[in-house]
Every structure is written in structure tokens, then in C-alpha cells.
């Protein structure tokens, strides 16, 4: 990234503008979708999917992950795994248990 020529930076600026517009549209979509009459689970997955797409755009283009080195990607993969473990295991424990406490 630090060796980019001016032309390349200007090319990236075009991409940033496009991503910005996409993010704006997706935000509106997120709000619109929330007014649909769907079950909680469906709403949850829809909201998280749109948020993930938005997040991926920010990660990929604003944070340059799309052209980033393998070392960084692997650290993030490890983090994602730890994150999902933290998110799901306590919940599964709760549903598997005989009672709430």
C-alpha cells in the first residue's frame, strides 16, 4: 500500500466513493427491512446478513483487507473463531441446561 503510485490512489478513491454509496443504500435497506412482518429469527438473520455485508465493505475497502497480507488475515480468522465460541457456547449451554440457572 505504501508504494502505490498516484494513479493507483486515485483509482482507490473511486472505489471509496462507490463503497460509501453502497453503505448508505444498505443502511436504508436495514431500516426498511425492520418494518417487515417476519419472525424474530428471520429478522435476526436478515439484519445480521446486511450488517455483515456492510461490515465486509468497510473491512475490505476502507481497511484495505482485500489486499492485506496473510499474517493479518490469519489473526482475524483466529479472532473470528474465538468470537463465535464466546457468542455461541454460553447460549448453547443455556438451552441445553435443565433450567435457567
Amino acid at each position: 500500500m505504501s508504494n502505490d503510485s498516484n494513479h493507483s490512489i486515485e483509482h482507490h478513491i473511486q472505489i471509496y466513493i462507490k463503497v460509501f454509496i453502497a453503505l448508505g443504500v444498505l443502511t436504508m435497506l436495514t431500516v426498511a427491512v425492520s418494518y417487515l412482518e417476519i419472525s424474530f429469527i428471520e429478522a435476526f438473520f436478515l439484519a445480521i446478513t446486511i450488517a455483515t455485508i456492510k461490515g465486509s465493505l468497510v473491512l475490505g475497502f476502507f481497511m484495505h483487507l482485500i489486499s492485506e497480507r496473510a499474517a493479518i488475515i490469519w489473526i482475524l480468522v483466529a479472532t473470528a473463531i474465538a468470537f463465535f465460541i464466546l457468542m455461541f457456547f454460553p447460549l448453547i449451554s443455556l438451552t441445553d441446561a435443565s433450567g435457567l440457572y
Binding site: 499474517a71 483466529a78 479472532t79 473463531i81 474465538a82 465460541i85 464466546l86 457456547f89 454460553p90 448453547i92 449451554s93 443455556l94 441445553d96 441446561a97 435443565s98 433450567g99 435457567l100 440457572y101
Partner: protein
Amino acid sequence: MSDSHHHEEKFFQKYIWSVDHKVIGIQYGITSLLFLLFGFGLMAVMRYQIAYPESVIPYIGEWFFSESGGVMLPENYNTLGAMHGTIMIFLGVVPLAVGAFGNYLVPLQVGAPDMAFPKLNAASYWSYFVGGVIMMTSFFTPEGAARSGWTSYPPLSIFESGQTMWLLGMVFLITSSLLGSMNIIVTIVQLRAPGLTWFRLPFFVWSQLVTSFLLILAFPPLEAAAVLQLMDRIAGTSFFLPSGLVYAGSAVEAYGNGSPLLWQHLFWFLAHPEVYVLILPAIGIVGEVLANNTRKPLWGYKSLVYAISFLGFMSFIVWAHHMFLTGMGQTMSAFFQLTTMIISIPSVVVLTAFFISLWGGSIRFNTPMLFALSFLPMFGIGGLTGLPLGVAASDIFLHDTYYVIGHFHYVVAPGTLFALFAGIYYWFPKITGRQLHEGMGKLHFYPSFLAMNGVFMPMFIQGLAGLSRRMYDGGQQYAHASDVLHWNEFMTISAFILGLAQIPFILNIFITLSSKKSEDRNPWKSTTVEWSAPSPPLPHVNFESAVEVHHGPYEYSVPGKEEDYCPQTSP
């Protein structure tokens, strides 16, 4: 950027606000050793109480328990217990193992002039210092220090005195660890000297790398949980308070709908990897000392690296084995039992590799080696006694008994702490230019070894008999434990002998420091890079010239060579 080659630094800049990793490492070392001593003191008072319940505690009684006539009250005992655990783990062992040893040695062993972020390094020490001040100050507040265990379980911890300062202190300590581990990872990845490939790294560096990853990913959820518990205490929220709670005879005025289990999950998500944080640097140190004092390469170096990496990964999915008695369903119990059994495998790999490393070696029985050798069976006992705890069925009987206390102390006390002692004796000449006196070292080792076993071995007997932990009178009230109570006095006396055995060590340090410096920068004839620097290494640059590595970490007794060791930096 300051031009440190050309001007003399003032005292404060050089010794207090220094950004030199060596000074910071020593700061961590001194602070943590003092905390270890203090934590030991707390335990000594506890053990006196356990052996002689309801009796007047000598001296401590009149100074601190005068309101109850010199006799310890249950809440005093609980405070001692909670603070002993907290101080030993978060103010003692981790800062010593990671902050002191990690900070001092990692840059040297990778051939770097300093850590990747020296100012951040200083910040992480001072964050630790502030956290320590908060923890110690808590003793002097009207509420007193924490008394809900180092585990701080709600609902008790929401209502009991002293937790607020504890939580605040923890936030600073966690921040310190996060900054420190980030620094260590970047240093290892980025600042390795030319020629120092991944599999030429000393095993100690690998252990610090895995440890730092554990800290980075596992500590933040506890920081989040600490914030939540602070909110419960101060802002009246009920994250951890269930509905319908009654405390001290009256209904609790909180919204409810919270869950004490949530705390346990968030807490143990950290606290289990934390125990591997406690053991991994120790394993790293033992590896270094064994290779050096057998004059042989470590057997199974690659297996060791893969084993601790696998261990690090597995440590994230075993935590609920601390929660087997919380009403978990069978599926989750079985899952966590399985992962816990699997995680014992890498530890066995490590221990086996270390034992085989001794075979055919030219063993030198100096003080660091004695401590390192004793680590092997002590860690073995600690690890083996963990197995019945990891099996859910037997854990139902052993949970919260003295068996657990025996298990984890074996791993941390004659385990980690002995490895850390080995490290102090081993690297003292590099840090100060003088070797600690061997005779006094042996006077430190032998009684310590015997006394450690005297304190902790009977705990298994007591635990198996069903004696519960955290009881201020040592279990007098429970008939089922009456047969094993007689061990209490024996264990207390062993604890006091253990305390006395540290005196030669403390004296040794002071006497050696005032003796003449040696000209030999590599008295142990070791291969790793830090030994090619002067003793102590040069301020801010460490080495006299740029480091280039040409050999593996443990080229001892290479056939055909004249010397029985080949330094990594030799051409």
C-alpha cells in the same frame, strides 16, 4: 526521537520512566516479587487460622483483628482468600512470567535492540502499577478489600464489600496485559534478527508468543464482564441478578432477569486460558534450562512447538469444566469433558519431550537445573490430578474441595514458581553480570521442594474425604471431614518452613549484587542469542553490533566441534 547515544539520561528518565525493555523488565520483576511475598504472607495468616481456628493470631491479631479480640472473623478469612488468589495470579505470577521474563528476554533472544513499541511497554508497566496500587489501597478503605473469591461470583460479589475497588484494579491490570502482549507478538514477528527463522527461535520465545495470543483474545471478555459487574454494583443494573432475589432478609430492589451464569461464562472464558498463561512461560524457561544443562538439543523441538500451539487453541474451548455443577445439560457437559481430556495430551507431549531430553545428557546439577528438574514431576502431579476434575462425574464429588486447591497449587507453586526461580538463577548473570551463589541456591531449593510437597500433598487426601474449600475454620464444623483435619497443622508448619526457605534466596540476591562483576558474559556456555550481548546488555541497543543468526537454538555437543556448544550468532 531522543538521541540517547550522546547525552546521559537523568535518574528519573533512566530508572523510573525508562522505555528500555530491560529496565521495564526489572521494574516488573521487583514489583511482582514483592507482591508474591505479600501474597505469601496473606496465605501464612490463613494457614495459621486453618490449623488453629478460633485462636488469637500472633501479632496480626492485635494489629488487624483487635475488634474481635485478636481472633479472625469469617469475613477477614474471606478477604485473605480472595486477595491471596488475586495478588498471586494477577500481581505476582503473570507480571513476573510475562512482564518481567518476557519483556527482558524476548528482544534479546530475537536479537532486537528493544521491544517494537518501547513507550507502550512503559505504559503497560505503569498500568500494572496503578492496578496494584488500587488493589492494595482497597485494604485500607472502610469497605475493606474484596472478599468474594478471586472468582468474584455474583450475586454475592454484587452485595459484598470491597468488590468495586477490585473490579477497578482488574481493569487496569487487564489493560496492562493487553498492551504488553500486543508488544510481544509484534516484537517476535517483526524484529527477529536476520537468519532467525521461525524454527530457530528458542522454545522460550515460542511459549511467550502463544501466551501473548491467549492474553490478547481471552482477557477482553473479562474486562467487559468487569464493567458489567461494576454497573451492577454502582448503577443498579441487574446483569447478573436473577429475579426474586432476597438478600439479608429483604427483597432486592433491582429489575432482575439477569443471570449469575453469564458472569461465570465470561469469567472462565478468560480464566481458563489464564491458567495456560501461568504455565506456558514456565514451560519455556524449563526448556531453556534443560537444554543448557544437559548439553544436548531439546528432544522433539518441533513437537513441542506444535503441542503448545494446539494447547493454546484448545484452551479456548474447555472453560466450562469449571462449571460442571451449575446445572449444565448432558450434551454440554460431555463436550467440555471431551475437550478437557484432549487438552491434557499436549501437556503430556511437553513433559515426555522434556524427560526424553534428559536421556544421554551430560547433566549439570546447578541450582537452575535443580528447580527445572523438579518442575517435571511437580507439574506431572499437578496435571494428573487435574484429570478427575476434568471428568464431569468425578468432578461432582471433588468440585470446591481441597482436592482442587491441591491440583492447581501443584501446577502453579512447585510448578510455575519453581520454573520462575530456575529462570532467575539462570539469567541473573546476564541481567547483573554476577552469578548467584550456588550453595545458598541449594539451601533455597531443597527445603522449598520438601515444604511445597508438605503443604499441598495432604490437600488431595483432605479433598477426597470431602473437605470443602474456602471455610474459615478449616472444616471443623463438618463431621465427614473430621478424620483428615489433623493434616492442617502439618500443612501449616510446612508452609512456615517454606517461608523460611525463601530467606537464603533473598539474602543471596542482595549479597550477590554487592559482589564484583564477572568478565564472563556467558558463564553457562549457552547457545541462545541473549548470551552474546554484554552483561548487562547495552542500554537501548543491547548488542555491540548487528545480530546475525546462523544456527539453531540448541546446538550443543555438535560432533566434530571443539566446544560442546555453538552459539546461534557464531558464523
